[in-house]
Symmetry: C2
Subunit: 226 residues, 2 copies
Amino acid sequence: MTSTTHNTPPTTESAAAENGGPVKRRRDRRAREREILEAAERIFGERGYQGTSMDDVAAEVGVSKPLIYQYYGSKDGLFLACLARLRAQLLETVSDAVLAAGDAEDALYAGFVAWFEFLDDHPQTWSVLIDEGMLGMGPAAGPAAAATDEVRAAFIELIAAMVRMNLPPGRTADPDEIEIVAQSISGATERLAIWRSRIPAPPTPEKVAQTLQNLLWQGLHTLRTP
Amino acid sequence: MTSTTHNTPPTTESAAAENGGPVKRRRDRRAREREILEAAERIFGERGYQGTSMDDVAAEVGVSKPLIYQYYGSKDGLFLACLARLRAQLLETVSDAVLAAGDAEDALYAGFVAWFEFLDDHPQTWSVLIDEGMLGMGPAAGPAAAATDEVRAAFIELIAAMVRMNLPPGRTADPDEIEIVAQSISGATERLAIWRSRIPAPPTPEKVAQTLQNLLWQGLHTLRTP
DNA sequence: CGAGTAACTTACTGCGAGTAAGTTCTTCTC
DNA sequence: GAGAAGAACTTACTCGCAGTAAGTTACTCG
């Protein structure tokens, strides 16, 4: 659907424009790259990484496959380019919410809410992220494994910083324990996001954030000094 | 390694056995199925789902590809068959540990320890499980998504049961909150398992389990009544 | 207008999943 | 021990898709 294969005649198109629409051919490189990226983001979001072929994307944009290879190098390259934009947005949104908060308790809650709200507002984004990206990260897994590990690492560092903020002033905690806690929280929020995206009427972001906060807050004070 | 391509000559092998070894050809179906399954488990564990071709498996067993298709239907079918065995073992191990424990607090801790220990003891298993299986489960993700969702669902139900056990007698909690808590714990343990498998000197299962227990235990008492 | 280059295409290769149509080996009956 | 019946197994393909080589068309700037 969505008007595939356009009205551009494949061969003699130079005589075009007789119907009025200036058949956009030969756009500027930057513009084409953006166009391809947007189409790819949409199609990957709909059909997943495996389910999308480069020919699909090429057809959607109305361009031939080698052009995409010239601009993005490989299917992985194209996918990573999609991921880069999306994760930057997500990370920025959550970081902003955390940094805007007053104390540590508030920061944690605000971060959770921002996370779940962002994913509610950008379901397509979320599809791209989790498909082989955010989650598929076994040893030889998907192509985006390394890239999404970066995002995750950034989140984990953010969480670890919050945990440290929460310690009594001047105290330090066992680094292992901080890491374990940060990994746990990261894992919990990812799993909750997936869960919410797959059930018909998920609890509100606030509800989930509050429950998670209740679950974790007290335990965060039990970190031992090394 | 491990003596690839065997000594069976591809063409005229009926005149074989001149060297002594009774070149095992034409085994019983059950035996062949097991043989294929074991090879597949190993290769999937080493190279991942994507990185393994059916020809690889066929060559490893010393058999032709269509035979594998006859027995397992498809690459997905073969992968799922591997998964089925592994997850059954994992689920059983953890369940046993939980059920053998005295009270709820002990059950939670014992479950964590059993989980991390099992994965330490079966790294190959773990590779197969996380590669596109345990984690890759976006909308149109890997083939094993549905299968591993089942395992996860089983764990989540186990966790939810433990949480309920922990409530004051006669009390009931908001089902949404129980679900949120169970999803969180499942996500945390999965992420921790991946993290541990990817760093050089991970903390012991007991250490991780203890930290997780500390993090969660107090919060488990904050569940509201609906 | 013509040279130079950026934008783009046609037409392939190669690999890997899956299949059609057999070909041997084994056993079971007479 | 024939020889039929069926299970175990193979050769030789098709088809879809990632990736590429080599060329062609349109814009731009002297």
